[in-house]
Amino acid sequence: MENITVKINGAEISVPKGTTVLEAAHMAGIEIPTLCYMKEINEIGACRICVTEVNEGRGFRLVAACVYPCSPNMEILTSSPKVIESRKKTLELILSTHDRKCLSCVRSGNCELQKLCRDYGVEDASKYDGVNNVYEVDNTAAHMYRDNNKCILCRRCVAVCAKTQGIGVIGANERGFQTYIGSAFDMGLGETSCVSCGQCIAVCPVGALSEKDFTKDVMAAIADPEKTVLVQTAPAVRAGLGECFGNPIGTNAEGKMVAALRRLGFDKVFDTDFSADLTIMEEANEFIERVQNGGKLPMITSCSPGWVKFCEHYYPDLLDHLSTCKSPQQMFGATAKTYYAQKMGIDPKNIVMVSIMPCTAKKFEIGRPDQSAAGVPDVDFALTTRELGRMIERAGINFNALPEEKFDDPLGISTGAGVIFGATGGVMEAALRTAVHTLTGETVTDLPEVRGTKDIKEATYKVGDLDVNVLVTSGLANARKVLDSIRDGSCNAQFIEIMACPGGCVNGGGQPQVAMGIRNFVDIREERAKVLYNLDKSMPLRQSHNNPAIKQVYEEFFEKPGSHKAHEVLHTSYVKRSVN
């Protein structure tokens, strides 16, 4: 590719033609601040915080660095007095309509606006105070709040909802000073066909969007001597939680996470990886049955509650393709409140099942119908990775100084197949490891074809005499393409994995927020997924069917995959929903 030379703060640098001023500065080791900009998703140059002086031969002027392309011999000044003054004024103007309740804001400490105000020395937050709109907080959705009083109208949430997820239930309404982000006809988010994926929360730079916080309820349950409080942690949580305590993206926090949960007072610290293995037993069996008995194909995974809700709203005609397996979260709760309760002699009513999830849709999932195997909800509270981070902080636990501890038995025993559930392609790989063994007796481990962050991955595996075509995708805009191909008959896959969030659960809507200035240049999906694949590689057992705790639970309780009992406890049903 053709290169051009530009001068950044006096130093020459050669960059590929088409590089933006923002990218060129990044290459030169200078980070220009951004608020609205999301690479390839929200390139609207609207917030003006990235303004930078450039001279293309006609004197210096301010341009939006995020979208302005470099030209040959361009001179760029990234922090001249004029630039700093302009950025500071922009911040003061944003603050003039911002609800500045930083002390009690969930984002205090990792708010992008707060950090910029500190960086640019904004001394007077009320400099341009005047008339303000006052908005009611939208609490209609099961999983989140929208507080427009804190919204800075960057539209990152709008872009991720419409483009990455192909949904578009939120957008800018009205115009000018009256503009606000909301839904059609001012419906509450809970009335729309929002799928609860939480990607909007993950990209919000401020505290306008946040998950519904249930940490207080969980701490109250722990304090109640009548209750046995069990906790399960999803695979991806261990790949994200460390970031809440200043560790680099891609830190494995499993051991310290277990130690922290124990110190928070949970009676047993279990692992959703166990029920991921259980899911594989049921799902691989279901797939083989469908293939052998002419069932509905392609079969599509059902672990991701955001994806399931998406299918119910937007592709209700394809619900028969969904596996009837509950998600690992729900299988865990169902097993804990039936098998484990019976084994330990505890009344399931006295079990409080808490899950720690990288996901906000899990908060919706626990309230779904047909998710109460023991006559009480399978799971009582679904917390995000972020909520767990806050609980640990609030308890004064010095996370980084904790020892590495192990999960409790028996529902903390798992295999490498369970842990890779948290990355896109992981469920497919885990299912194939077991399905191939069931059909041919062969041992399969690594399946690199279904790994990685490519939008749509396809592979064909020879299993005995069968050619099995599989397809893996994540991000719901990608899922749309796959589902449309099922509708028009052009899809030749028999088994499909779909995860609502791009890259799978490691990049879930409940994971720690990473500032967009970092996300624009680092692929957090890959960094976090590496943690899980490394764990898989390091485990002695890497196939779900080899998990001794799984063997035991079938021997003692479920009998065999797909049994009547398994269907009662571990499988579920779906409902058709409308589009709003």
Partner: protein, 165 residues
């Protein structure tokens, strides 16, 4: 947040829907089709309630929120039908200093609707306008073609009674 839910029952006919569907079919594959479709839809129905926006959303694949965002951005589009009688209160300078703001507020209170809306029975719609060239009569309002001037807040009820009797 303004409540933008229509208070007037939707009375669209199958003929109107067929007309709208024909417009959508003709335009939907062209770039920037939404604006011309919305303009035609407003011509057909007179306004753009949720029922109409849903037809457009379902048949173009454009999310309802995106359509609503455009409709609320442009003053030219209305979410409410016009009533049998359109009450237009002048909020121009002369009328305003003579108290037309209070009259406008009184009408909103009496009719139970905000400016730009229509009463649920379809009888009255209320809007603000700027100078109608009758400053000598300030404050002024019109009900369809009828002009009322030199008003006080107490006149509001009498005027409304003329049209409800």
């Amino acid at each position: 947040m303004n409540s933008a839910k229509s208070t007037v029952p939707f009375k669209g006919t199958p003929e109107q829907e067929a007309q709208l569907l024909a417009v959508i079919a003709e335009k939907k594959d062209t770039q920037g089709a939404l604006m011309p479709i919305l303009q035609k839809a407003q011509e057909i129905y007179g306004y753009l309630p949720i029922e109409v926006q849903k037809i457009i959303s379902d048949n173009t694949g454009i999310p309802l929120e995106k359509i609503y965002g455009v409709v609320t951005f442009y003053a030219q589009f209305s979410l409410y039908p016009k009533g049998e009688y359109t009450i237009s209160v002048c909020l121009g300078t002369a009328c305003y200093v003579k108290g037309s703001g209070d009259i406008y507020n009184k009408l909103q209170e009496k009719l139970g609707i905000a400016g730009g809306e229509c009463t649920p029975d379809g009888k009255f719609s209320l809007e603000a306008c700027r100078c109608i060239g009758a400053c000598g009569l300030a404050p002024v309002l019109t009900v369809n073609e009828d002009v009322y001037g030199r008003l006080t807040v107490d006149d509001v009820e009498k005027i409304l009674n003329k049209y409800t009797a």
